[in-house]
Amino acid sequence: MTEPLLSVRDLSVSFDTRKGVVEAVRGVSFDLGREKLGIVGESGSGKSQTGRALLRLTAPPGRVAAKTMTFDGIDLLNAPGRQLRDLRGGRISMVMQDPKYSLNPVMTVGRQISEAYRAHAKASKAVAKTKALEMLEAVRIRDPERVYRAYPHEVSGGMGQRIMIAMMLITDPDLLIADEPTSALDVTVQLQVLAILDDLVSQRGMGLIFISHDLNLVASFCDRILVMYGGQVMEELAASELHNAQHPYTRGLLNCLPQIDARHVDLPVLTRDPAWLL
């Protein structure tokens, strides 16, 4: 077996608060190859903090600790700031939930994408522009020239998220971390954006970490799933095996979803067992 792209052992993220130390992530371990890994959990399960910790983007006063956290042989935990800045957006990219907050409102879309490219590749403005237009076309934006000149408020949410994906993939990263990239979108748009992401990830042979609260979506989109609760991984399983999930938490999450074709029965309510968090 080849060396995994990303290897994480015993990752923990803790915050010192007035009421004591809050451990948002506790002892999370996983390996990632060139595949789609889903991290699922409810709010407060630590799934986003896990994603942020990988890029060392944990907001102060949060502290990150781990036995190992390596990306392609680079120790992410002790990498100097300069090396991290090269990695971020270069070899590891991140797409956040809401394009409204991740795009700069006073800069045209095109300038932002070209800037992302020029920050990592030595290229002239003209080359960057051609690359940006190509990328906008790759995320299936119909009129790339117009969108290139547009400001973020002039595009819809679905298009904004495609622009984010274009910006994150233009540097040809090896790993993309997508934190609820489509939760703010309508269902059909959501799936179309995911299809674009799926195609690009498989064409370029990237690794993808897909963070979401939507168990069914993750199961149908990813290859492998980590189910998180209370900062810990409850269960790791192949996406196709979701319906044979063993852990009561995973089962509980699955059962409490309303189904279109099974109506008017009381939904089973998830009961949480404190013993899960040992």
Partner: protein, 260 residues
Amino acid sequence: MIDIQDLNVVFSSGADRVHAVKDVTCRIAAGESFGLVGESGSGKSTVLRALCGLATGWGGRVTVDGEALEPTAQRSDAFYKTVQMVFQDPYGSLHPRHTVNRILSEPIAIQGLDKPGSRVEEALEQVGLGHGFRFRFPHQLSGGQRQRVAIARALILKPKILLLDEPTSALDVSVQAEVLNLLMRLREELSLTFVLVSHDLAVVSHICDRIAVMRNGEVVEEVTADALAQGDPSERYTRQLLVASKGYDRAAIDQFEDFG
């Protein structure tokens, strides 16, 4: 119970004119639960807002429990005793500096009803919150508990109709299940009429008997939840929504049409 005929809602005028709701007609019988489903901007919430006076200046005829409504923000006291609304965001719809007790007492004071204390206790009981919650502030409650308080506030005047605008979309799925169960139980116990607005086909078909699918301000079709469960709505748009709600399927996505 609710009779809406040719409802039209237009916001602003000139270049910014938005025709948010176009000729929507529907009849909802007493005790029924009716769903409005659609993507963002389809006008589903605006229909509810026109009913309860939050959107004004609409055209058409709307009758609720025998009372013809005016397209203004004015509603009679009796209207609020019949119709109450629950909003999407329990973080935004409760006053952050009022206790649960004060939030629940306000409708009683406005309507000049007696025995506020016991009414508050009763409403909290109904939504499954003990009296230990009565003197808490919203920030001391979880999202699910806040939504229960919002439901209690709607129930405190013993209305016949509840208007529910995405009541569970800000909640985690496990909490959503609890709130949906609560709504189903209350409807049974208090024989309420529900109008539920949601973007989530599964939630709407869980709660409702009859569902109107909206797109661009128009009702595309009306289906029963049973027809939806069997998976054969007649409109292509509804079928596409149904496919989309089943999860990611690369092949199906290429078939998606843009309904504009």
